[in-house]
């Protein structure tokens, strides 16, 4: 059959038969599937309007499937599944009550059920401010590129992929002892910078890194607030002699390394400072204290006010942000909302009794905020109201 040929009943049944047996010509497949789409797009016949009948279908179809396949599992009875048996009675009463309410006031009830988004918010992006040694402040966004400054014998260049690279100025041939630069990401921004020694640093939202334009002899010292992922270069490119330790200074700890990959979460609104090691070896020292621990790959140091704990951790979850995800492994609602606030630039408020539960899951950071919130909402523990940049978390 081709599309110009007339279709009669026999041909029609025959084409369907060939389609099912996967023997159709490509042209007939196109025709049948395109036609099928058109049928599917038509207005529905009177919509299913009897909930009891539907619930009955749900169960009876499943029973037939059980008979056909020999599986034994029953469908869960709706609504009471998550509750402990002691509460089952109360729950069924509640269920009846809410079902009743639902039937009496359908649309009002619907509003009470779901989250309310008056608007949506797009995710953060690559964006940062660079403060030069002479005090000039530059916005680094997707627009600018190429050489953006030259200081102390160092060229500061922005690549096409949006990262900042510090390179020794070939004309001058050597670098001077220079001042400090600071790169700062706003809420909803992240940025990657390659330092003069070849060390790469990814900065998460609402973070800053202060570093010398030129790493002179001795220790390479940078200062971090917020969260950063470091790939420290083992070779010292500038001064070229012995290995120079690399030190990340935060408000509560110093991390000393030679060459390695690690993540530091030192947000001031987080209860602990977390250092997670992926490769190599690092030492974490509490500021103004002799307290110190050494980490092996896969380990994490959690520095609280009183103690430094070392344990293994989920590396994927700790470096999720750098790879473009929110990966939640047993995280508290508050912890998650702090991440959301930093990436989507919202103010978070809580209402209702705090939920005593942790969440697990993965959502891409390229999503709008509604996708992230919908995922959390689907657990049934929380709902949200978003008005502008104000996000209210309704706990149940």
């Amino acid at each position: 059959m081709n599309t110009r040929q007339k279709m009669d009943e026999n041909k029609f049944r025959d084409t369907l038969d060939k389609y099912i047996r996967d023997e159709c010509s490509p042209e007939d497949i196109q025709l049948m599937e395109s036609w099928y789409l058109k049928e599917t797009a038509k207005e529905s016949i009177a919509a299913a309007d009897d909930p009891a009948l539907m619930m009955n279908y749900r169960k009876s179809i499943w029973n037939e499937i059980k008979n056909q396949t020999g599986i034994t599992r029953n469908l869960p009875s709706r609504g009471v599944r998550r509750l402990v048996p002691r509460l089952a009675l109360a729950a069924s009463v509640l269920l009846v009550l809410s079902a009743g309410l639902y039937y009496y006031s359908g649309s009002i009830r619907k509003k009470q059920y779901g989250s309310v988004y008056e608007n949506d918010l797009s995710p953060g992006n690559n964006k940062a401010y660079l403060t030069l040694a002479d005090g000039r402040k530059l916005l680094l966004d997707t627009a600018s590129r190429g050489e953006i400054a030259r200081e102390s014998g160092i060229r500061i260049r922005k690549t096409a992929t949006g990262q900042l690279v510090y390179q020794l100025d070939k004309k001058q041939g050597h670098a001077n002892e220079g001042g400090y630069n600071t790169i700062e990401t706003p809420v909803g921004g992240q940025y990657m910078v390659e330092l003069p020694d070849g060390t790469k640093v990814w900065l998460n939202a609402s973070s800053s890194l202060r570093f010398p334009v030129n790493f002179a002899s001795g220790k390479r010292i940078v200062e971090l607030s917020g969260e950063g992922y470091f790939e420290v270069a083992r070779k010292v490119q500038i001064q070229g002699t012995a290995r120079q330790p690399f030190v990340v200074h935060t408000s509560k700890q110093d991390i000393e390394v030679l060459g390695t990959h690690f993540n530091v979460n030192a947000y001031s609104d987080e209860p602990d400072t977390k250092t997670t090691l992926l490769e190599g070896l690092v030492r974490v020292n509490r500021i103004n204290s002799a307290e110190s621990v050494q980490l092996k790959p896969g380990e994490q140091a959690v520095l609280s006010a009183t103690v430094i704990r070392v344990g293994t951790t989920d590396i994927e979850a700790e470096t999720d942000w750098k790879n473009g995800y929110f990966i939640l492994a047993h995280e508290s609602l508050e912890g998650i909302m702090r991440k959301v606030a930093r990436w989507y630039d919202v103010d978070v408020e809580y209402s209702g009794k705090p939920v005593n539960t942790t969440f697990g899951g993965i959502v891409a950071r390229s999503n709008n905020i509604s996708a992230v919130l919908n995922t959390l909402e689907a657990t049934g523990s929380v709902k949200f109201i978003l008005k502008g940049r104000k996000l209210t978390v309704l706990q149940q």
Partner: protein, 193 residues
């Protein structure tokens, strides 16, 4: 503290392929409603639509071992349902309405030559079925989205240890991530790793 999680389609597919009945039941919960409404629309008969859904899931279970987990669960089901619906149309005593609709389509309709585009369009149309329902009915179908499976339940249904389940999920996640790429919207849930 209790742990709450939403199980993603990808994760369900993974366990389904291993032969987990609990994952299969959850897939049924998620999809039977949409597919039923879809089948009912094309076959214009409740009983036939019920048969189609039963056939779709039976077939899906029987072919679990050959399922490719990197293909979206929904596209598998939507293809099987289309096939089953064609089969039911073929066996209908009277096909005049379908025949005249197809004839008219051949005269005036637009062919979608691109396979991906057809798949996308089909997904969009099927997913719209529930949205088009009156609120009361929609609620009935949407209830099924809130399932809270635990690794223990899945492990029990597979007869393997909870630990094995966890490490398998984490491997599957890695594979899927490398296939989907960072830009893709991955929706996997991996609590307790």
């Amino acid at each position: 503290m209790k742990q709450q999680r939403v199980v993603s389609d990808e994760e369900l597919m993974y366990f389904f392929k291993q032969g987990s009945e609990i994952a299969f039941a959850e897939i049924y919960e998620r999809y039977w409603g949409k597919l039923f409404l879809h089948a009912r629309k094309l076959l214009k008969d409740d009983e036939e639509a019920r048969d189609v859904i039963q056939e779709v899931f039976t077939q899906f279970w029987q072919r679990a071992a050959s399922v490719d987990i990197s293909v979206a669960l929904s596209s598998y089901l939507y293809k099987i349902v289309r096939n089953r619906i064609f089969d039911h149309i073929k066996h209908k005593k009277v096909v005049n309405d379908y025949l005249s609709s197809l004839t008219q389509f051949m005269e005036e309709g637009v062919l979608l030559t691109d396979v991906d585009l057809r798949e996308k369009e089909l997904s969009a149309l099927i997913e719209r079925e529930i949205q088009a329902l009156p609120p009361k009915m929609r609620h009935i179908f949407e209830l099924s989205r809130k399932q809270h499976l635990s690794y223990k339940e899945i492990a029990d249904s597979l007869g393997i240890s909870e630990h094995t389940v966890k490490s398998q999920v984490s491997n599957a996640l890695r594979i899927l991530k490398s296939r989907t790429g960072v830009a893709g919207i991955v929706f996997l849930f991996l609590s307790g790793l």
